[in-house]
């Protein structure tokens, strides 16, 4: 039987971290895995891309026990989430592990012990795991979300539109959160985000400028989301907006191109041009300081400004 959202949350409460012995079992697994993972390399038996647990094990840093408690949602909140969010995203520790693995690799300066508190904006914060972690590390965090336009009923193909293209007459989100003026009156992850008390601002990240002053944040992050904002032809316009809003660093991790888009030559040409522009980024002291091949594509870009 396929467990529903509520059953998954119940299971997480019963077996924290998904390990039958709970957090202590998870912790032991991590400690052993650092060695076994490396032994695979020594035996030349594997050069596989590390999974989330292997990243955490290799780095020797993993989420503390408090994150193994499920999201503290009421039955009504769970019911609302069930209608709007994929099942896999209701497992808090799974969300946390994935974000933790990203952050320790790409934003170690925010994850270190005793890191000075920074102002961080995450675009498309979804379940908020990245923000929960950074809040736990003492940073001041702001999230962003917006009702999405993924359904066939909707006239707006956000992945193909140019930046700042939006028509409230035509563009209806999947769940009816947008009112007749195109203003969001709610969003899919709202019950979950409210259960953990995060500050999430609703605005469409494909429309610039964003509602923030220049240099409002130390760092801006966007994971697996930029491909929903606009056509890759305009990703560089978004990158300029990111570096306007941020003072120190920007991390962009794009999703892999979806299978049905790979055959679209125009889209792929725009995507390749965007990759090229981002890794060559150089403006106002900003430079691309890491360009990563992740999920078999160049999709990780860290921009930073030297002191």
């Amino acid at each position: 039987m396929r467990a529903d959202h509520a059953a998954l949350i119940e299971r997480e409460a019963k077996f924290p971290t998904g390990h039958r012995e709970g957090y202590a079992g998870f912790e032991r697994t991590m400690q052993i895995m650092r060695d076994t993972f490396y032994e695979e390399f020594l035996r030349n038996s594997s050069q596989k891309y590390p999974n989330t647990n292997e990243v955490l094990a290799a780095i020797g840093d993993y989420p503390p026990e408090e994150f193994s408690n499920p999201y503290p949602m009421t039955p009504e909140q769970i019911a609302s989430l069930t209608r709007a969010v994929q099942r896999k995203y209701v497992l808090r520790f799974k969300n946390i592990r994935r974000s933790w693995a990203h952050l320790v690799q790409y934003m170690p300066e925010l994850m270190r012990k005793g890191a000075p508190p920074r102002d961080v904006l995450e675009l498309s914060s979804a379940h908020g795991a990245t923000l929960e972690i950074l809040r736990h590390k003492g940073h001041r965090v702001v999230g962003n979300d917006f009702p999405n336009f993924l359904s066939r009923r909707n006239g707006l193909k956000s992945h193909l539109r140019r930046v700042n293209e939006f028509d409230p007459e035509q563009h209806r989100d999947d769940a009816g959160y947008l009112d007749e003026n195109g203003v969001a009156q709610g969003w899919a992850y709202q019950p979950l985000i409210e259960s953990i008390g995060l500050d999430v601002r609703l605005f469409d990240a494909g429309i610039v400028p964003y509602p923030f002053e220049d240099g409002s944040f130390d760092t801006l992050l966007t994971f697996d989301a930029i491909e929903h904002y606009c056509n890759p032809l305009d990703w560089i316009v978004l990158a300029d907006e990111f570096t306007r809003v941020a003072r120190r660093s920007v991390l962009i991790v794009a999703n892999p191109v979806q299978e049905h888009m790979v055959a679209d030559k125009d889209y792929m040409a725009a995507f390749h041009e965007a990759q090229n522009a981002l890794r060559n980024y150089g403006r106002d002291g900003w430079e691309c300081v890491h360009a990563g091949v992740y999920r078999h594509q160049l999709t990780v870009f860290k921009l930073a400004r030297y002191a």
Binding site: L42, Y49, E54, V104, P108, S249, R279, Q297
Partner: protein, 307 residues
Amino acid sequence: MLRLTHAELIEQERLRPADHRNGHAGYVRKIRALRESFFQKFLKRESKAQPSYDEVIAAFDDIPPADLTVPYDLTPEGLDHVSRCIQRKYVIHFKNIRRSWAILLQHMPELMAEDCPPRVVLEMSTAHGATLEILRRKGHQVIGNDFANFVGGAELDSRFRDFGGADLTTARDDHGLHDGSGQVRDWPYRPITESLGLDVRLFDAGTPPYPFEDKSVDTVICLDAIEHYCHPRDWMKVVAEFRRIARRSILLIPNAMPPYAYKDLDYRETVYAFQREIRQFQQDGWHCVHAGINRNQLSVFKLMQIG
């Protein structure tokens, strides 16, 4: 199986540039096709392998130029020298280039960017000099470093000493290039880097201070070499010496722990302690901005002066 000599490998590279039957043009075609087929593997869930160097180059669509496929131009005396002192695989010019190119694209994109400002780069343990050749082509001012090997074939072993410990100049090295008189004149890769006209400074990287003024270079790069300098308990001291010299950034990639070191629990734990310390490093404006898993271990560290 026929095992080619150093000289035969160089001749083979001359006959078969870029290790492709159609030479560099064939290699370029192969890499262009590889970007697509590499990603198709991901889409088909066939492989989640760590990308090979060619796969990284393909994902970036940034290919080393044809003039770097020309074999090393060695005199008979030089060929004899490298045949005695270096592993066969390192005499293949384009293989060395591809490896350095892939590492630089990912971890030092700001030095590989189109029209990037010229920087002063010191590479420790330059060896065949491929990293410096590439950066020189990109318009940077490059300085190398090398020294004879003391890793088992000699009376001293540099890998277990303190930083600033045993004086290597008075000992015989693995290949008999030193006479123990205190005068240091030769090193294994000399014929190759001389043929390339690179500025390589001879000094022992395990003995501070290095012969450079404070903040005299923009970037220090050290690939697969720090484990030869001293015991890992002192690697943070090595990094402190890099920081003294560098103004902007440091890229440090320790080699994979060899089996004998991995089996030594003290050594292994000392490496883990170093990993923990450097990934959380923050001092005098320096931050660890990327902590990467390579060869199934946490072994990529980029430090920079961040704004």
